[in-house]
């Protein structure tokens, strides 16, 4: 292979090469730090948010369906791990528990304890089905009504999470722990590897999160370039035209909801295990907007942009607001805690980005065209987005 043809290969596989380089460098990062470093902790959260943001990006960025209830899938993913990898259902099997390769310690506990890989499969199934169920009623609706219906579903799921400790499925079995967290959750235990232990080292969780990100990135790129991905983008750009070209609207939209939801579920299950607790308070509306802000900031539909947006906002949330800028109001002579304003800051970012650079920081080429092609097509203020 000559240098030139190698260069061509790299250029043609820019995404692949970029991903390998980025993830490879990222994988080395924790080795340079203390095993329990806060930076590693922040990076783990960032990686989990990347997975979620890429999932929401499929629904909002690719298929153009504004989903304001994405937190529902985070909740369902987290409760999957809460239900099937903790002592939440402790009376099961006469208090002896059900165990499937859950790891040395968990195998002795009451409750259902499944291996984390099984949990991921379950989380994908549960959230995928939930995504379709939530998507079904919105099929007839368009635009902002979809946003409100998904928001309503997100709030309903949140209410069930909060009040789930009063819902008895059977004697001794409650739906959720409510505001009392379901805890502890089993640590991740993979075949052939020693059990993860976040008390002594965060590295294994970090690498596991990176593997998740890698898989999700590959799936995202492959999906985007697949027949399904092209159908999503066609629907986003013009639903009527797509339908008349033979794109099956129902199936395509439901696939978008299900796939997007499944990523949220994977990430939710991972975060549940990482936090070792699942608490209803995590699943508020604001979280949906947090994830939405990531994909808007990065650039709707742009995979690299969304990943970047997720990392940036995650660090703004976990590092910049509490650690770096928290003293700023005090220095200005104002007396308040910046961390209570994090959602105001996200709101401000959304507003600024949407008004000044609606295509996001790293726009997808096609999307940027879409946004600009309306300008100059006529001076009508109202017609541009008519379907």
């Amino acid at each position: 292979m000559t240098v030139e043809s190698a260069w061509h290969w790299v250029k043609n596989h820019a995404n692949l090469v970029g991903a390998i380089v980025a993830l490879g460098l990222a994988a080395l990062l924790p080795l340079a730090m203390d095993p329990l470093s806060t930076i590693t902790h922040n990076c783990i959260l960032a990686a989990a948010y990347v997975v979620m943001a890429l999932g929401l990006n499929i629904v909002v960025g690719f298929a153009g369906l504004l989903d304001l209830g994405y937190v529902a899938f985070y909740a369902l993913g987290s409760y999957t791990v809460g239900w099937f990898a903790s002592d939440h259902f402790s009376p099961v099997n006469h208090e002896k528990g059900v165990h499937v390769l859950a790891g040395k310690f968990a195998d002795t506990l009451p409750g259902i304890h499944l291996n984390f890989l099984l949990i991921i499969v379950l989380a994908i199934a549960i959230t995928g089905i939930a995504g379709m169920l939530i998507g079904l009623p919105t099929l007839r609706l368009r635009g902002d009504y979809i946003a409100i219906v998904t928001l309503a579903f997100g709030e309903i799921v949140y209410r069930f999470a909060v009040n789930g400790d009063q819902i008895n499925l059977a004697k001794g079995y409650t739906l959720t722990g409510g505001r009392q967290a379901i805890s502890p959750i089993d640590a991740i235990s993979l075949p052939g590897l020693s059990e993860f232990d976040s008390a002594t080292s965060l590295r294994s969780y970090y690498w596991f999160a990176l593997v998740l990100v890698a898989i999700v990135l590959i799936v995202n790129f492959r999906l985007r370039d697949s027949r399904l991905g092209r159908a999503w983008i066609a629907i986003r750009e013009d639903e009527v035209a797509a339908a008349s070209m033979g794109v099956p609207l129902v199936k395509t939209k439901l696939m978008a909801y299900a796939t997007g939801a499944a990523f949220g579920g994977i990430s939710g299950a991972f975060l549940g295990s990482y936090y070792t607790s699942v608490n209803a308070g995590q699943f508020q509306f604001g979280f949906s907007i947090f994830i939405l802000a990531m994909i808007i900031l990065g650039g709707l539909g742009s995979i690299w942009g969304v990943a970047f947006g997720a990392i940036l906002l995650s660090f703004i949330n976990t590092y910049f607001i509490p650690d770096v800028f928290n003293s700023v109001p005090h220095k200005l002579g104002l007396d308040f805690d910046l961390t209570v304003l994090n959602f105001g800051i996200f709101g401000f970012l959304i507003l600024i980005v949407m008004v000044l650079r609606p295509q996001g920081l790293f726009p997808e080429r096609r999307r940027a065209l879409e946004l600009t092609e309306g300008v100059g097509a006529g001076d009508s203020t109202f017609e541009v987005n008519a379907p």
């Binding site: 902002d144 309903i156 996200f346 507003l351 109202f382 987005n385």
Partner: protein
């Protein structure tokens, strides 16, 4: 606002359409009546009286009057630019905050005499209305106007951004937990008692402020020149522009009116609930939005009707099902309406709903 659908539809209506229309409309009415009817029957069989239901419904109607005022703001804005003004609930919240702040400034306390309270409340009503109206116009200028050419979801997203910003203004103003407010009008005092159904001062106040405002609004839109411009812009902005209507001013005017109503609702809510919280706007906003959709978005009478109905449903849910389930019940209604009858009780088919 739904010109395209109107032209796209065949002029002659088929019977099956009419049947479906009647089915979905009366189906919705039936679904709305289900909860009060069920509770009424249960009360009658268990206690032999409808007093409790009556009390719930009185509270529901007075709460509903507040929701109606907020819902009018949603429906006005949606009618004219087909945008869900997501920040509208927060404008209502700011209305409460402004009024409460003003009480502190002008020294309105529990020891103030009745005349002082009356004058003070009137002043705070006007100030809250003006501030909220101007705030709403400002939101439109900053967050929606630059995006009129953008895809439709863009202004919705900026609206959400703005709503979070306003919520945090509320947090900075009065902290992040609910605060109680002096009960200036003694809102829990029972004024009438009709067969065991108590009507409180707060209930009378809510209705007494809402009715004149709604009347003024409908007269303004129906009779005045600007109201005519608003209706024309709602119907066809391009044609309205060709007829010499300043569309931008008209849109600003709509936001001003909506904001003023939200400000009035903010003051009433303050007096009625005697509490204030930065998050009150989010919940009330979503409930009021449900009301607007229920009545048929874009339709003023529908918004008022929807507000009253959703107020009753909300109160019934709060007292009979449990306060922790209230929002879930209201949202379940929202989803049902959106899915099965997006045009609402007396609305017309819009593009979204199509």
């Amino acid at each position: 606002m739904s010109v395209e659908t109107a032209t796209a539809k065949p002029t002659g209506r088929r019977t099956s359409d009419a049947v479906r229309e009647a089915f979905s409309k009366y189906g919705l009415i039936l679904v709305l009546l289900a909860l009060p009817l069920y509770l009424g029957v249960r009360d009658l069989t268990q206690d032999g009286s409808l007093t409790q239901l009556g009390n719930n419904l009185v509270l529901g109607l007075s709460n509903g009057a507040i929701y109606a005022l907020i819902a009018l703001g949603y429906t006005l804005v949606y009618g004219i630019i087909e945008l869900i003004n997501f920040a509208h609930g927060e404008v209502f919240m700011i209305g409460s905050f402004v009024a409460f702040g003003l009480w502190g400034t002008i020294g309105l306390t529990l020891s103030t005499g009745p005349l002082g309270v009356a004058v003070g409340l009137l002043v705070s009503l006007l100030v809250a209305m003006v501030v909220c109206g101007v705030l709403n116009v400002m939101i439109e200028r900053v967050a929606y106007k630059p995006l009129r050419n953008a895809p439709k979801l863009a202004p919705l997203i900026t609206a959400i951004g703005f709503s979070f910003i306003l919520q945090n203004v509320g947090i900075l103003w009065l902290g992040s937990s609910p605060a109680s407010v002096p009960d200036l009008i003694n809102s829990q005092k029972v004024l009438f008692d009709i067969g065991g159904v108590a009507i409180h001062r707060g209930d009378v106040l809510a209705v007494a402020v809402t009715i004149p405002l709604v009347f003024l609004l409908t007269t303004f839109i129906g009779r005045s020149r600007l109201g005519k411009a608003m209706r024309a812009t709602a119907q066809d902005p391009d044609a309205a522009r060709l007829m010499g209507i300043n569309v931008n001013t008209t849109i600003s005017m709509t936001f001003l009116l909506g904001g003023m109503l939200a400000g009035a609702a903010g003051l009433i809510n303050l007096l009625y609930q005697t509490s204030i919280w930065y998050f009150q706007g989010f919940t009330a906003g979503l409930i009021a939005f449900t009301a607007a959709v229920m009545g048929g978005i874009g339709n003023l009478k529908g918004a008022v009707l929807g507000g009253l109905i959703i107020g009753c449903i909300q109160q019934l849910a709060e007292f009979r099902i449990g306060a922790q389930w209230t929002s879930a019940v209201v949202f379940a209604y929202l989803v049902l309406i959106m899915v099965f009858r997006p045009q609402g009780l007396i609305g017309e088919v819009t593009r979204e709903a199509g």
